[in-house]
C-alpha cells in the first residue's frame, strides 16, 4: 500500500453562518497529482488553507504524513511547499532577498538553493529586482520558487497558473510533471482551467458548496468520459432492466434525474429506442455524447444539486 501523505476526515470549516467546508474527507497517496475541481466559492481554497495551517478547522481530523497533533502537523508542514492564492512577499526586498529571508527562517542549508529555485522557475535574471516591480506572472513564478525551495515532498498549489502566459503555463506543467516523475513529489493542485488539470492530474477530487462530491482516478474518469448514448427516460430503473435483459448489456450507468449512460450499441440507437418502446419504457430523449472533464464535473454537480432538491 502506498504511503498516505494527506488524510482528512469530516473536515469542517464554518465562518459565522457560512459553511465553507462541510465534512470533507479526502486521501492523497504518495506520488499522486490530485486535481481539486470546483466552482468559485466551492471550498477549494478553504481546504488548502486548512491543510497549510492558515486556518483552523471547526471540526474534523487532518493528518499530514501521518501526523495529526498540532505540533506534529507543524513539523509535517516543513516537508510541504505551498502556494495559496496570490503569492505574498515583501515588496521592498528583491526576489533573491525574499527567498533568502525564508531560507534563513526555514533553516535550509546552503545559499545555492535560492539561485536554483529562481532558475527552476526561469527568474534568474530578475533576482535583483524588487518584488514590487514584478508582473503578476513573475509573482506567480516567485511564489512557486518559494514553494519548491525546500524540495518538498508534498506540493499544495491553489490556482497556480493564474497570470502565467501560455509559454509559462506549458513550462509550469512540465516542471510539475518532472517533479512528480523524478522526485516522486505528491501534488494537490486546484485550478479553474480544467483542460490544464486534465493534462496533469492522476486523480481528481470534485468539490461543490463545501462538500466533497467524489474522488476518482484519471483512468476511471477516462472510462466514464468515453463515448456514450445518454438516454432520458420516464423510468430509469425499468430501462436498466430492459437493457440488461433484452439487449444483454451491463455497460451502462444510471444517473440521477431518470437518465442513463449507455456505452454499448452506440451505432444502433434505433435498436435501443425500439426495444425500450416495446418494453413500455418512455424514451424522452437520446443523445450521443463524448464527455470530457468539464462535462463530467457539470453533470456531477447537476446531479448533486438535483439529489439535494429531491431530498
Amino acid at each position: 500500500m502506498s504511503e498516505l501523505i494527506l488524510r482528512t476526515r469530516e473536515l469542517t470549516r464554518r465562518y459565522g453562518r457560512t459553511l465553507a467546508l462541510d465534512r470533507a474527507s479526502l486521501s492523497v497517496e504518495k506520488g499522486q497529482i490530485l486535481g481539486l475541481v470546483g466552482r468559485n466559492g466551492a471550498g477549494k481554497t478553504t481546504l488548502i488553507r486548512l491543510i497549510s495551517g492558515q486556518s483552523r478547522p471547526t471540526s474534523g481530523e487532518l493528518a499530514l504524513f501521518g501526523a495529526s497533533s498540532p505540533s506534529a502537523l507543524d513539523r509535517a508542514r516543513s516537508r510541504t511547499g505551498v502556494m495559496v492564492e496570490t503569492p505574498a512577499f515583501y515588496p521592498y526586498l528583491t526576489a533573491e532577498q525574499n527567498l533568502e529571508y525564508y531560507r534563513i527562517q526555514r533553516g535550509i542549508p546552503g545559499r545555492s538553493c535560492v539561485d536554483e529555485a529562481l532558475e527552476l522557475v526561469r527568474l534568474t535574471g530578475a533576482g535583483k529586482k524588487k518584488f514590487k516591480t514584478f508582473s503578476l506572472g513573475m509573482k506567480q513564478r516567485l511564489g512557486l520558487a518559494l514553494a519548491l525551495m525546500n524540495q518538498p515532498e508534498f506540493l499544495l498549489l491553489d490556482e497556480p497558473i493564474n497570470g502565467l502566459d501560455p509559454e509559462g503555463i506549458v513550462e509550469f506543467r512540465e516542471l510539475l510533471l518532472r517533479l512528480n516523475r523524478e522526485r516522486q513529489t505528491t501534488i494537490l493542485i486546484s485550478s479553474h482551467i480544467l483542460s490544464e488539470l486534465s493534462a496533469l492530474a492522476t486523480h481528481y477530487a470534485f468539490i461543490d458548496r463545501g462538500r466533497m462530491l467524489e474522488t476518482i482516478s484519471a483512468a476511471d474518469l477516462r472510462e466514464r468520459c468515453r463515448d456514450c448514448l445518454e438516454l432520458r427516460v420516464d423510468d430509469a430503473a425499468r430501462a436498466a432492466q430492459v437493457l440488461e435483459e433484452q439487449l444483454g448489456t451491463r455497460d451502462f450507468e444510471v444517473l440521477p434525474q431518470e437518465r442513463l449512460r449507455l456505452y454499448a450499441f452506440l451505432d444502433q440507437p434505433q435498436t435501443v429506442n425500439r426495444v425500450l418502446m416495446e418494453q413500455g419504457v418512455g424514451l424522452i430523449s437520446a443523445q450521443q455524447k463524448d464527455s470530457n472533464l468539464e462535462d463530467y464535473f457539470l453533470s456531477l454537480i447537476d446531479g448533486h444539486s438535483a439529489g439535494k432538491e429531491g431530498v
Partner: protein, 259 residues
C-alpha cells in the same frame, strides 16, 4: 528561534525604513545638543553647560523612549497583514509562538542598537560642542554617566513593556496606522484617565495608574540619586506588562485566521 530572529534582522536592516529611522533619530539627537550649544554660546553666564549638564538631561530621553518602540515595531512588523506574508511562515510549519516571539526579539535588538547609537552620538556631540564644563549642581562627567546607566537600567524594562504592548497591538490589529493610534491612546490617555478616576471614583484606579508605564517613567524625571527600590519597581511593572501583553498577543495570534 535563532533562525527566525536572524531572518527578521536580515529583513529589517534591508528596509529603507532602517537607515531613515537611524538617521532621523541621530539628527534629532545632534539637534538637541546643538540647541544646548546655542544656549551656551548666545546666553553666556546663565548656567555652565557642558557634558555633565547634557547627561543630567537624560531622564527626558528616558521618558521619550516609549515612542521609538512603536516605530521599531512598525519597522519590523508593519504591513505583514497587508502583504499577507505571515501565511508563508505558517504554511512552512513555523509555530506561531516562534513567529511572534522572533519579531519581538528583532524589535528589541533594533531598539537596543538604536539606543546605543543615540547615546554614543549624544555623548560625542555634547563633548565636541559643549566641552567638559562642570554642572552647577556639582555633577561630574563620571557622575553623569553613572546617572545615565542607572536610568537606563530602570527604563529598560519599561520600554520592554511598551514594546510588548505595541507588538501585541500590531499582531491584533491589521492596520498599522490604527495599531499605532491604539498604542498612543493606551500610553498617553490611559494614565491621566485612571488618575482622574482614582481621584473621583475609587482609589483602586489610582493604584492602576501607578502601574502604568508612563507613570513609572515620569518617576524617573525627578531622580537624582540612585534608588534601587525604584529600579526594582520599574522591573516589576515592566516585566508585568511584558508578560501580560505578550501572553495576550500570543493567545490571540495563535487563534487568528490569517488573511
Amino acid at each position: 528561534m535563532l533562525r527566525s530572529i536572524r531572518a527578521e534582522w536580515y529583513k529589517a536592516v534591508r528596509r529603507p525604513y532602517f537607515p531613515i529611522l537611524f538617521l532621523t533619530c541621530t539628527l534629532l539627537t545632534v539637534g538637541a545638543v546643538y540647541c544646548l550649544y546655542l544656549i551656551k554660546t548666545q546666553s553666556p553666564g546663565i548656567t555652565p553647560i557642558g557634558l555633565p549638564f547634557a547627561l543630567s538631561l537624560s531622564p527626558l530621553g528616558m521618558v521619550m523612549g516609549l515612542w521609538p518602540v512603536a516605530i521599531g515595531g512598525d519597522l519590523v512588523f508593519s504591513e505583514q497583514y497587508k502583504h499577507h506574508t505571515l501565511k508563508n511562515e505558517v504554511s512552512f510549519g513555523i509555530p506561531r509562538a516562534r513567529i511572534y516571539l522572533s519579531r519581538w526579539a528583532a524589535v528589541f535588538l533594533v531598539m537596543l542598537l538604536l539606543y546605543a547609537v543615540l547615546v554614543a552620538v549624544y555623548t560625542l556631540s555634547a563633548l565636541l560642542l559643549l566641552g567638559l564644563d562642570r554642572d552647577p549642581s556639582g555633577l561630574t562627567s563620571g557622575g553623569g554617566f553613572l546617572l545615565l546607566g542607572y536610568l537606563s537600567l530602570a527604563a529598560l524594562p519599561i520600554w520592554a513593556g511598551g514594546l510588548s504592548l505595541i507588538m501585541a497591538i500590531y499582531f491584533l490589529i491589521a492596520s498599522a496606522n490604527m495599531a499605532a493610534i491604539c498604542y498612543v491612546a493606551l500610553v498617553l490617555a490611559l494614565p491621566p484617565l485612571l488618575d482622574t478616576l482614582g481621584k473621583h471614583i475609587s482609589p483602586f484606579f489610582q493604584l492602576l495608574h501607578h502601574l502604568t508605564l508612563s507613570y513609572q517613567l515620569d518617576l524617573l524625571l525627578n531622580v537624582q540619586i540612585l534608588d534601587w527600590a525604584l529600579i526594582g519597581r520599574c522591573w516589576l511593572v515592566g516585566l508585568g506588562w511584558t508578560a501580560a501583553a505578550t501572553a495576550l498577543g500570543l493567545f490571540c495570534f495563535s487563534r487568528r485566521e490569517l488573511p
